[in-house]
């Protein structure tokens, strides 16, 4: 069974090669920028940049749209609320509903903003593997170590958890098959019966996980793992030319957006 965790798409584009820390920071900065924008021209510029990134990193529009599916309902919902509640010149009305010109403008802008926020965040996960992402987060949070926050341990736990999701899925698939061969039935009966039907799956899974955790801990200790202190890496995160290019590109976008927002009036 093949399971994809996250939505990483294999590739070798600029975005793929850049350092995860750069990508995380730029993603956050990009989100802040999107929240600041309030003109259609500004949105159009951002959208163009995101499209260029999606095309150049060869993610494929279809996977991006698939990633948007969960927020589809939210999009519709905010759009409807905005259309009917925003004040302004009423251009259309029936019964208790009034639609104003401002309402339409605001709702379209909100949809743009949400789309840009989500696509920005998902590009990050499209071009970065979960493990590299946790490495990046660990490195970015490392100043917190001074405050005695166990940053490395958290990152290690996250990495291990991600690593074992496919294993657990495979295992549960196997146990479900074994128990159904013995006559277990997961589909009929009331709610309580159905929940109870999962006991023969969950207990073996839990026991298996504890055993595996135990073995993994022993194996790690046998290789002298003792937490983050003094630990070096095989793949050291390093900034490269790619990161400079990305930062410069982002600065250009941010600069343009700021000029659009504040500059045009004064110049």
């Amino acid at each position: 069974m093949k399971v994809n965790i996250g939505q990483y798409v294999v590739g070798n584009s600029l975005m793929h090669r850049a350092d995860p820390r750069t990508k995380i920071l730029i993603t956050f900065a990009f989100m802040a920028l999107v929240l600041m924008i309030d003109t259609f021209f500004g949105f159009a510029l951002c959208l163009a940049c995101v499209s260029i990134l999606i095309i150049s990193s060869k993610i494929g529009l279809r996977s991006v749209l698939r990633g948007m599916k969960p927020i589809f309902f939210l999009l519709i919902f905010t759009m409807v609320i905005n259309i009917f509640t925003a004040p302004g010149n009423i251009i259309f009305s029936f019964w208790v509903f009034n639609i104003s010109d401002m309402g339409i403008i605001i709702s379209v802008k909100t949809v743009f903003r949400l789309l840009l926020l989500v696509s920005g965040a998902s590009i990050l996960t499209f071009v970065t593997t979960p493990t590299v992402l946790t490495d990046g987060i660990e490195s970015l949070l490392s100043p917190l170590k001074k405050l005695k926050v166990p940053v490395h341990e958290f990152a290690m736990m996250m990495t291990i958890a991600l690593r074992f999701i496919p294993t657990l899925l495979e295992e549960s698939d196997k146990i479900i098959k074994a128990q159904s061969s013995r006559g277990a039935d997961f589909e009929s009966g009331n709610l309580i019966k159905r929940v109870k039907a999962y006991v023969p799956i969950i207990i073996p899974l839990l026991i298996g996980s504890f055993m595996r955790a135990n073995e993994l801990a022993t194996a790690m200790e046998a290789r002298c793992y003792k937490g983050g202190e003094g630990r070096t890496r095989m793949k050291v995160l390093a900034f490269s030319k790619n990161d400079i290019i990305l930062v410069v590109m982002f600065m250009a976008l941010a600069g343009a957006e700021i000029i659009i927002k504040y500059g045009i009036k004064t110049i």
Binding site: E171, K174, A178, Q179, S180, S181, R182, G183, P200
Partner: protein, 287 residues
């Protein structure tokens, strides 16, 4: 009543970009009372094939008929009562508080009363050679070998007519392995169960099976009695499978001495033949 595969194909993730054809045009009949072995490398479709037998997977095309039940019909309960399935490392499926409850899981699901459940569990532990004292223990505090017996008892308790096993000897020590095959022989010959076993160990298959099918990339390439399958040295080599060690040894010996023309599948057989040859030819020097 036999297990019949008619032109069965199976594809994983059909229609998606990760689709993978696991079985192609399988036509196969496994008769009642057979001790049937399916051999092949990992990824050859062995596990897919056996999961089709009790309806865990439904054939993409063609049909699988077990004791007159078409597995794509909705008679799964009846089907699974007749086909017992022992997966690889069955001890991973243990979950209940006591050994008794764990073995009784299947028969309780079938709605038997406690009296009948008791009878079934008792006959299952007798067959599997589990001591009665073990029944009140937790299945998690007994030894590895016992765990496997208990897990198998949990399948046999339903008195299936057909028992399907995926690598039943995996991870057992030589003694445990020998016991396992002795037990399977007993279930086959004395209780009369049809045994279908998946393995990639040629020695095991050669000594216990009545019939052997060889799977390569989802196709059955050989299907016959073990004497014939294992004598086809060239063909086995082509699909990267080995002859059993004793067969290879006797082949080499036969080539050197120009005697022993039959195929030997067990050490016992070979020993008898060599002794007989020594007696008739009158000494080691001749050989």
């Amino acid at each position: 009543m036999p297990v019949i595969f008619e032109n069965v194909s199976y594809t994983y993730n059909q229609g998606s970009s990760t689709s993978f054809i696991a079985l192609k045009n399988i036509g196969l009949t496994i008769n009642d009372g057979d001790f049937f072995a399916i051999i092949g490398h990992s990824g050859s479709g062995k596990s897919t094939l056996i999961q089709l037998i009790n309806g865990l997977l439904k054939p993409g095309c063609g049909k699988v008929v077990v004791n007159g039940i078409d597995t794509s019909e909705k008679k799964l309960k009846e089907l699974r009562k007749q086909v017992g399935m022992v997966f690889q490392y069955p001890e991973h499926q243990l979950f209940d508080e006591t050994v008794f409850d764990d073995i009784a899981f299947g028969v309780r699901k079938m709605g038997y009363d406690e009296c009948k459940v008791n009878d079934c569990v008792n006959s299952a532990i007798n067959l599997m050679g589990i001591e009665e004292g073990l029944l009140s223990h937790s299945p998690f505090e007994i030894s590895g070998g016992q765990k496997r017996r208990v897990a198998m008892a949990g399948v046999i308790v339903m008195e299936p007519k057909i028992l399907v096993l995926d690598e039943p000897a995996a991870g057992l020590d030589p003694r445990g392995k020998a016991d396992m095959f002795k037990l399977l022989k007993k279930l086959n010959k004395e209780v009369g169960m049809t045994i279908i076993m998946v393995s990639h160990n040629m020695e095991d298959v050669a000594t216990v099976a009545d019939r052997v099918a060889v799977l390569v990339d989802g196709r059955i390439v050989m299907h016959d009695v073990p004497e014939i399958v294992f004598s086809d040295k060239e063909r086995l080599r082509k699909i990267h499978l080995d002859q059993p060690e004793i067969t290879r040894f006797m082949d080499a010996l036969a080539e050197k001495t120009r005697r022993f023309d039959s195929v030997f599948l067990s050490v016992g057989q070979a020993k008898e033949a060599i002794l007989k040859e020594l007696r008739t030819s009158g000494g080691v020097g001749e050989l």
